[in-house]
Amino acid sequence: MSWVTWRQHRLEGAWSLAIGAALAAAVIFVAYQLHAASCGGQANSYCFSNELGGTIAQGIVRLNLYQYGLVVLPALAGAFIGCPLVAREVENGTHRLAWTQGVTRLRWLAVKLVLVFVPLLAVAAVAGALEVVLINQLGTTPNHWAFFDQQAPVVVAATLFALALGLAAGAVIGKSVPAMAVTLVAFVVVRVGLAEIARPMYIAPLSYKSVDLNTQTGAVYPSAWWLDDPSYYDNAGHCLGTVTFNGYRGQAAYFVQHFQPGDRFWAFQSIESAILTILAAALIGFTIYWVTRRLS
């Protein structure tokens, strides 16, 4: 079964490896250029050299290729590799060939899952880890929150989730192309939903209060994730609003702003990864049920 899986999916494997390698090369190149320009002292700034290497690195950063890449590629892996895994067999009727050889459906599916998913997860892990290396070159106190979706645990979990989603959609719908559309939409809904609604509340946020209305909160806690705009209050404790404080000149006495501190970053990564992994496990379990009991 391993050989059959390899023979069936080697093209996808080559593509994934090529894209993963290109991404890794870009990240390593930019990280090296940042390191060589020794701009570690200037927080969150890109100070590349004016030489050719620096210019190229600057271009890569401007286009934000790897930042988008690490968000979009898992979804594409789910759609283009996850969906056809079962759906293409059903579309072409080859599942009836495969399932009447001397191998049970469960084994057939298990081998495919291991041999197709695991290498892709490894590629995602390498890309996510390189991203951490890159972010650490961005300054003395890099703000990891800005690249939450691009770092190692979450990138791996998101890739697993996308693949499981594609697999399940493909198995249930039985046609690759509609399954791809469903996968992409569902993936975006889940990831945006988690990021926008659930993520700020994984752990109760802290509040920062200051009577100095000129305080730059970003400078106070450079590694924090600021969840909202400052809310301005008068002396009686009435909320005036969140418009820039010049609007409340003379009335505002202090402001409050909510944040997640930098030292919670890896806890948040673990929580979101766990959520995505549990969803993926449920989808894979469902697919196993569907393939062994419902398809024919």
Partner: protein, 299 residues
Amino acid sequence: MIAPIQATGLGKRFGRTWALRDCSIRIPPGKIAGLVGPNGAGKSTFLHLVAGLLSPSTGEVTVFGRSPRSHLIQLLDRVAFVAQDTPLYSGFTVADMLELGRRLNSRWDQRSVEQRLRDLEIPFDRKIRNLSGGQRSQVALGLALGKRPELLLLDEPVARLDPLARREFMQGLTASVAEDGISVLLSSHVVGDIERVCDYLVIISQGRVQVAGDIDELMGNHHLLLGPRTDDGPPPSGVEVIKTSHTERQTSLWVRGRVAHLDDGWREQPLSLEELVITYLSVPAAAALPRPELEEVPA
């Protein structure tokens, strides 16, 4: 000998539609059995139930005495299935397909499959998608025979082939199974294909089995009686009338059994297999099932 296929009260429902109902048949070992019926009659459903691709909604089917539901692993090596439209991986070469067969089946016979395909002049390095329909079917058959199955199931294997490729396929099939004594069940909606190779016939229509029996016996036992027009006369003794039709001056009776003597003006004609099948299909209520064998079904 254990029957390769035995069904008892077998039924399969998809949603609210019954694709197969109350099907009780026993196909004796060593036969090449043909499963005929119109499109949508339940032929594929029956084959899928036997191959373990589907689970029955009611009743039971056993293959060599074992249920494909609970003993699929033991049966997968003994049963080969060529599904409708002979699905193969179109991006694989012929050699790749054989490698697949070798890796997934414990009793695989590489040498005989290679020999077989070489005799048919099928290029091993060509991709499946570049083969002709006939070659493709031959590769699918080769793959199935390479498993060295005891039971071979084929679902409309020649439906898409031209007459010449049809004949070649059927000849290859008969030659191969004759050597090894493989039991075969093949479905077709073309009676001519069945007639050429099968010695056992199952007619299935609207989800029900109408006829099951040895083709020679069925042919010897069914006749067309032609005589002067008799609207409500008693049926000839000793036969069961399946279908009656009248023209202005003549009455035709399709009967099972043999009349002891024919009245004046009546004559008996043999039926071709095709006529026999069409007669039954046009009278869905008629049935010819070997009753004694059904009594052997264990409780």
